[in-house]
Symmetry: C2
Subunit: 263 residues, 2 copies
């Protein structure tokens, strides 16, 4: 069991209740990463379902839970032969922190009937750049859990050279060797710095809704994250992340609506 598997473990209390322990190692400057929290919730949902794969997850983020004990409360809203639908809520101190609707199904390992190419072209891995280690006082513990290598222009904002449009592209894998699975993908779809940083914005950008679809089970190796947005307006922005596996296959698609940070 990897550290990530351990950090996302959900222990069954009864049919509709799972105990979890939110790991301080997934902090993004205080709040815990939303993708990590989705992975925790999905462990409980899949354990309780007759289907193996979380094909679609819609999460609305109410407030930021703190590290430590929490619960996932499930309500199965439809159990079907093809798909099971579940409402899952992350609870701490009797309050809801994240509300989700999840459809689980069983994906087969098949060749797609039709698939588009990637939405952007990445340079080879050796031409990509790592983020500098975060300062300990920043409480960016998430960075140590994963290895990311960025398409250089999309990380130019770090040196005061944003590209001027919302985007972010990187190779991604867990720091502790682990083949990607649906839970790693839940982390991956929310792992890029907010795409608006590349458009010159700064500050914590709280997600309001993140919906992602698992399209195929990823092959071992690096994932590629292709992030983009279409509009920044009135304090709101959208962030799309397309995830390809090491064979180039589309394995996950996410879109979030988030608030622009306050600097």
């Amino acid at each position: 069991m990897t550290k990530f598997d351990e950090a996302t473990r959900a222990v069954r209390v009864d049919e509709n209740t799972y105990d979890v322990s939110l790991d301080p190692g997934y902090s993004i400057g205080g709040p815990l990463n939303g993708g990590y929290l989705m992975a925790v919730i999905l462990r409980a949902v899949v354990d309780a379902s007759s289907h193996e794969h979380p094909v679609t997850t819609s999460a609305q983020f109410l407030r930021a839970p703190r590290p430590g004990p929490a619960r996932v409360r499930l309500e199965q809203i439809k159990a079907g032969r093809t798909a099971t639908m579940t409402r899952a809520t992350l609870i701490q101190d009797d309050r809801s922190f994240i509300e989700t609707l999840v459809t689980t199904a069983t994906l087969a390992d098949v060749v797609p009937d039709w698939t588009d190419g990637p939405s952007a072209v990445m340079p080879p891995l050796e031409q990509c750049v790592r983020l500098p280690d975060p300062k300990p006082e920043s409480n960016m513990t998430l960075n140590a859990q994963m290895e990311m290598a960025f398409d250089p222009p999309t990380i130019g904002w770090l040196d005061g050279r944003p590209t001027g449009r919302p985007e972010g592209r990187a190779y991604f894998r867990m720091a502790e060797p682990q083949d990607p699975d649906p839970y790693v993908l839940a982390l991956a779809v929310d792992a890029l710095p907010p795409v608006v940083f590349s458009a010159g914005e700064r500050g914590w950008a709280p997600t309001v809704d993140l919906t992602w679809h698992l399209r195929a089970l990823p092959a071992p190796g690096w994932l590629t994250l292709l992030g983009s947005g279409r509009m920044i307006s009135d304090g709101w922005f959208d962030e799309d992340v397309e995830v390809r596996d090491s064979t180039g296959r589309l394995v996950a698609q996410s879109r979030q609506l988030a608030r622009v940070g306050r600097g």
Copy 2:
């Protein structure tokens, strides 16, 4: 009050319950259109919220309700100054048919900080084509509620000439003159024929999850719907719809995960 306003009316029973009447005029060959059903649900959500605009809606479709009386049951999960989050369920005969998570907020009429151009270019309206009137026995009553003019290649599947990729593009407005509003947009994001028809698939394509974001209030006039998909695999496909208003502004974005029809 237009026919559409009437068909989406939600009558308050108590704080968390609204009576609605599902109109047989929004049928797509039997089942009612998912966008219409979202509009009905959103009427109740917005009426009960202190905020005016449904900025993000995630809907999971459990089963198809029939025309006639139904209820919307609300559960407010967070009431905030910036945003209110609500769970809303469409109920008929004491069963859930659609589960949604909705965030309402108040959008200001501002110039975007940054915006991308449209994802596809439409020919002028006069070069676009209308669908033939559906046969009465097809029970496609939805078509009479709206006027759509298609980018010709994307409707080639009607004559046995699909483009070979999932796509669909059309101008859209209500048949009965009405300025577009968030409820019209809820209908619009699910108004195109399934994009997989253009890739050669046929048959009713049931939506599993549809998530859409209201990005700005639309100007009067025609809307433009730009639909596309990235993969058809293992019986699942994604459909993205970008909605622009008559000034070219991005007003809504949706993505659905759906099942390929069975012929």
